[in-house]
């Protein structure tokens, strides 16, 4: 089903990607073309088929709840756009 401009804006907001008024129509057209291709999935009846999430049906490996990691705080902070006193700096969230 084709997306409306309103829906395009809604999913852009969910994805936190700014889509300007100038480009929203073009994005809508491209997405709708892709959804038309995806619509081909409806051609087949998949009633009763179990969804497959992993190639060999394995589930996530668990491990012992023991601390094995070393702190790499300085190294990981070194690539941060803005930091202060060992913390990542972002615009104020809490009023």
């Amino acid at each position: 089903m084709p997306l409306s401009l309103e829906e395009v804006r809604r999913i852009a907001e969910l994805a936190r990607i700014g889509v300007g008024d100038a480009e929203v129509r073009a994005v809508q057209a491209q997405l709708n073309a892709i959804f038309e291709m995806i619509g081909g999935m409806q051609k087949v009846d998949t009633e009763g088929i179990a969804p497959m999430t992993h190639a060999q049906g394995r589930s996530l490996r668990l491990r012992e709840d023991k601390v094995t990691e070393e702190s790499q705080r300085e190294q990981l902070l070194s690539v941060a756009p803005q930091r202060e006193q060992g913390l990542y700096l972002v615009p104020k969230v809490i009023e």
Partner: protein
């Protein structure tokens, strides 16, 4: 030296015919000479490479070398590399210097190989042409107005143009195999879970696999020996017993059953590609393999299912790029939400934004069942098709790509047209099966054609055996593009 196999390079190093430093300088020279025209590399750092080469020479002198010690390898810029810029072909990581090494990089370092540089790619591995990179398109050494394929196009062009003896790539929907086919080299996507994804910047968690790209199956086997192996830091890594992937290369093909799926020889296949693949099948029969018709009836659903699953997983995975902890951050913003919106709108290219939006929609409330769940059911049908086929054959063989390399810009305006390039490669990713492409001839405009080989889970040694025997009887993999050597 430029055309030497990895085995021969290793022997030359061991016999001190050449040092790793000299070998590395040779290939650095090739990069300097050709990268302006081909744009295969994003980052080169001679100082770092030569430091590794010197260490390798010391190791060789102490007779402590392994098969890849001292040999330069180019890495797709998707593998986080400590101290090296790692961009994933994106503006959003254009300032990101790796704070650690990916598992694959660690393995190559431990083996004593030399990092030659980081290769260009479609942004976040989303593409089949290497045109969407923030750093500009990669050119196909076989025809510089053509694409090399994608998303591992930089690695493909680098091997094809003899700028590097070997390279790494990643494959989510065909991104090792399709560029290998379009650029005339050999490439392998391992069984899902065989190669650790730790430090391999994620696109689609259930589909991504890192793998080798080189001039021959024999080379791929040596590279896979280094790359494969359990890693506890990758929760999807499989604890499969270690194998020597060269062990079955010399086995005769007599009695090997090759399954040929009729669905991969239908309307979408270009005649020139079909002709080269048919000739390859005939050659394999001459070598003793037995052709068996098989059906992959759900094949036609693989592209729609993939373009639900991969974007869905990407939308979740790429939410980490928000300007907070690393990468690009917008310069101006009103508040946190605005910072996210601008950072991501500025930092991501159009194809990446499209796929994130598709993925966000198909996972959103009310649409999950109709899209994501439906696609995962189709995924099981596709895996079941292969399971049935492997009851009657050992390997499934067909064309890797529906056409030879297309012109840069020819498909960029129509995403759906671009997506159809992956029609034969995607099923193996959805099923988690290993897949390979090897050169099997030339098509229109003297551009390379690739032969696609899919094996059952963990049958890489068998696939490499077939490929190696084919390469012993043919010369397609030895051909090189015109105009790359003086």
């Amino acid at each position: 030296m430029l055309n030497a196999s990895l085995k021969d390079l290793s022997a030359a190093l061991a016999q001190r015919k050449i040092s790793s430093v000299a070998l590395t300088q040779l290939f650095l020279g090739r990069v300097a000479e050709l990268n302006g025209a081909l744009n295969a590399f994003i980052t080169v750092d001679a100082e770092k490479s030569l430091a590794q080469a010197r260490a390798a020479d010391e190791r060789i002198a102490k007779a402590a070398a392994q098969p890849l010690t001292g040999i330069p390898v180019a890495h797709k810029d998707i593998f986080v590399t400590k101290g090296w810029l790692t961009t994933c072909g994106s503006k959003i990581l254009s300032n990101f210097v790796g704070p650690y090494d990916a598992h694959v990089i660690e393995r190559f370092n431990a083996a004593g190989a030399v990092i030659l540089g980081k290769t260009n790619m479609d942004e976040f591995a989303m593409g089949s042409s290497s045109e969407t990179s923030f750093y500009g398109p990669v050119k196909n050494p076989w025809g510089r107005e053509c694409v090399p394929g994608g998303s591992s196009g930089g690695s493909a062009a680098a091997v094809a143009a003899r700028m590097t003896p070997a390279a790494t790539g990643t494959d989510t929907g065909g991104s090792i195999r399709q560029p290998a086919a379009l650029s005339g080299l050999s490439g392998l996507k391992p069984t899902y879970g065989l190669v650790s994804r730790y430090g391999m910047i994620v696109f689609a968690s259930s589909l991504d696999q890192g793998g080798p790209m080189a001039k021959s199956a024999e080379d791929l086997a040596l590279l896979l020996n280094v790359m494969a192996g359990f890693d506890a830091r990758d929760s999807t890594s499989i604890d499969h017993p270690a194998e020597n992937y060269t062990r079955d290369l010399e086995k005769p093909l007599a009695g090997l059953r090759i399954g040929v799926p009729k669905e991969h020889f239908g309307a979408g296949l270009s005649a020139d590609v079909g002709k080269a693949v048919e000739a390859a099948l005939a050659q394999l029969e001459k070598l003793g393999a037995r052709r068996v018709p098989v059906g992959l009836p759900s094949s036609g659903l693989s592209v729609p299912a993939y373009y639900v699953i991969a974007p869905a997983e990407a939308s979740s995975n790429l939410s980490r790029f928000d300007g907070v902890r690393y990468g690009h951050r917008a310069k101006e913003y009103r508040d946190l939400a605005d910072m996210y919106r601008r950072t991501r709108a500025e930092g991501f290219g159009a194809e990446v934004r499209r796929r994130i939006l598709i993925g966000t929609y198909v996972l959103s409330h009310g649409y999950y069942d109709a899209y994501y769940l439906k696609a995962q059911r189709i995924r099981r049908l596709i895996a079941n098709d292969f399971a049935e086929a492997f009851k009657r054959c050992d390997l499934v063989i067909g064309p890797t790509s529906p056409t030879v390399a297309f012109k840069i810009g020819a498909k960029a305006a129509d995403p759906v047209q671009m997506y159809l390039n992956d029609i034969y490669t995607i099923p193996a990713n959805l099923a988690g099966l290993p897949g390979m492409s090897i050169p099997c001839g030339f098509g229109k405009d003297n551009l390379p054609v690739g032969l696609h080989i899919v094996g059952n889970y963990f049958s890489e040694a068998k696939m490499l055996n077939l490929a190696h025997q084919y390469q012993k009887a043919t010369n397609w993999h030895k051909r090189e593009p015109a105009g790359i050597q003086p």
